[in-house]
Amino acid sequence: MKISMKRALQLTSIVVLFFLFSCGETEIISLSSESIEMSEEYPMEGSNTVTGVWKVDLGSIEINEIKSAKVTAVTVEMLEPSGSDVMTGIIMQLAASGASMQRVGVLNPVPGNSKSVEMSIADEQENLVDLLKQDEITFVADVNLKSEPSNGFSIKTTIEFELEVTQ
């Protein structure tokens, strides 16, 4: 009985040591996209989609070093019209030709009379590392409009990521 306990302890120690060595050290790094302009020349009352392309720039981070990624903030700045009153709801997604679409934020209802709004962030986020591996990510905003804006509809979106990076 004593021998088996000793063996069990040895095995546990080996597993723990292996786990610690294999994990390596990680660091949390924040990454912010550029502000991407998304516009629709002829928006309609009701459901509309506006898109914009972000040419992915990870700065000095190597994609292979990214262990996990999540979106921590989505900020939408109103350009045309200048106030958020025109929107009733907005959903933000990320898409790319080499990865699955990921929904990252929602705001419904939209606070009125604001120049810029912060979206609620999706709890379930998958495939973000796959998305960041792409050269380009398309920001896709599905927007419900109260009425038809006379001079088009235009917003600027900035997305902040939190990356877990191996050192």
Partner: protein
Amino acid sequence: MKKLFIFLLTIAALYISEPIQAQDAKDGDALIGVWEPSHGKARIKIDKIADKYYGRIVWLKEPKDPQTGEPKLDKNNPDESMHSAPLRGYRMLKDFEYQGDGVWVEGTIYDPENGNTYSSEITLKDENTLDIRGYIGMKTFGRSDVWKRLKLK
């Protein structure tokens, strides 16, 4: 002489493959438009983003929740943070890639009535009719529906 032959062959291959690719993209775009499922409770607009096809709900027969009187929300989504998302404008078809011969594959379809997401394949029966199949795991064990194009071509 041999080098010239290879060069000419390469040029010919490029000339042939480019129009085929362009034609494929054009054929794939046959899916773009507004479609109505057989139950007639919603209309879905399919568009193309980053070379793939996506569909969102643009019209609901009953847009308001009878219990609250407010616009319907995605309250059955397994991700609770998304329960406030409006159903109108919701992307229920995602990531379809054109395979050729009127078939789009590798996509998913979301059923807002139960919050489930299924693997999915779309087949264009004719230019105004499509067959959409949702399944889990194997295609054999699934369910199909026929959707009609709203504005007939």
